[in-house]
Point group: D3
Chain length 68, copies 6
């Protein structure tokens, strides 16, 4: 299975915080930078997202801005 | 000036391709992973985005998914 | 591999139109409704998206609105 | 009134869950597939979204990915 | 019909530029600020978007950032 | 520093409501229209967003729809 989203950044989960319907997941990328994802608490449960696990942050290219 | 978007990933522009109204920018992150941004050609001109320049990829946390 | 995006709608590609960097893909869902996706031409090539193929439309829940 | 968003999928609300500022709405599409929307609790109140009602899920084409 | 998107900003179309699949629409808001929308060329045709017409810019609240 | 996001609308914060991980910020634009942003509570804290302060609502052009 291949997804059209162009961005897939490998990392390790540094923290997961769930509150009500939403969850905030911090991912430390290989290379040391950190990405924060806001997803549903339902997806955290379904995927079994937990601290220390390896996963990818996935982002559609049209959602990325640049700043210089 | 501070922006609410939680994700700011430092990198270097590897390529810029413009076609009509849209542009595709590839950014090599410090650490080696690559992020692709689709922005308007107007923003490429306004910011002077060009190969080899350092810049940040900026992403709102609600736009980030995870996959395991 | 499991993706946090909550929405995955199975369908068949009805048309693919590519112009420059972008592509428009029409997917007829099982059940008959139609979903249009705007993705990069690069992803169309990489995934080998073509008319008549079966695939899923994938959408993050925070991107869905409702109207009544 | 016509909205530029290309995707409008007719369905029936299967569940509405509200917690604090956010709400999760499950819509069963005509055809049987299910779409989950995360919207504000304020919009749930304003629109009177409730189980069993018919409504449309609305999605901008640039937010749709494909997977094969 | 009511849409869950929280933001609806009334304005007048200042320019429409179409290229291939995509279009860029500049809207001068009542009050003088300008909003740029990137939508599909298909939606420009379907809605009959043209310079000088009055319309609303519509934005889901989860897509808005703030900067101070 | 310049950001690729095309839309920057100047205004004043009318209200900030935080609940758990998320926050809803209402911004009265110069000109009188109102924009609602849903951002993380973490960003509200980091930026020191509070009622009465001046700030900009920032929106990527691909996130803006039009309705006529």
């Amino acid at each position: 299975m291949a997804l059209s989203a162009r961005n897939r950044l490998a990392g390790t989960i540094r923290s997961v915080e769930t509150d009500g319907l939403m969850a905030e997941v911090e991912i430390e990328l290989d290379g040391g930078q950190v990405v924060t994802a806001v997803i549903t608490a339902g997806s955290v449960d379904r995927l079994g997202v937990e601290e220390g696990a390896e996963l990818d942050a996935v982002i559609k290219a049209t959602e990325v801005m640049v700043e210089n």
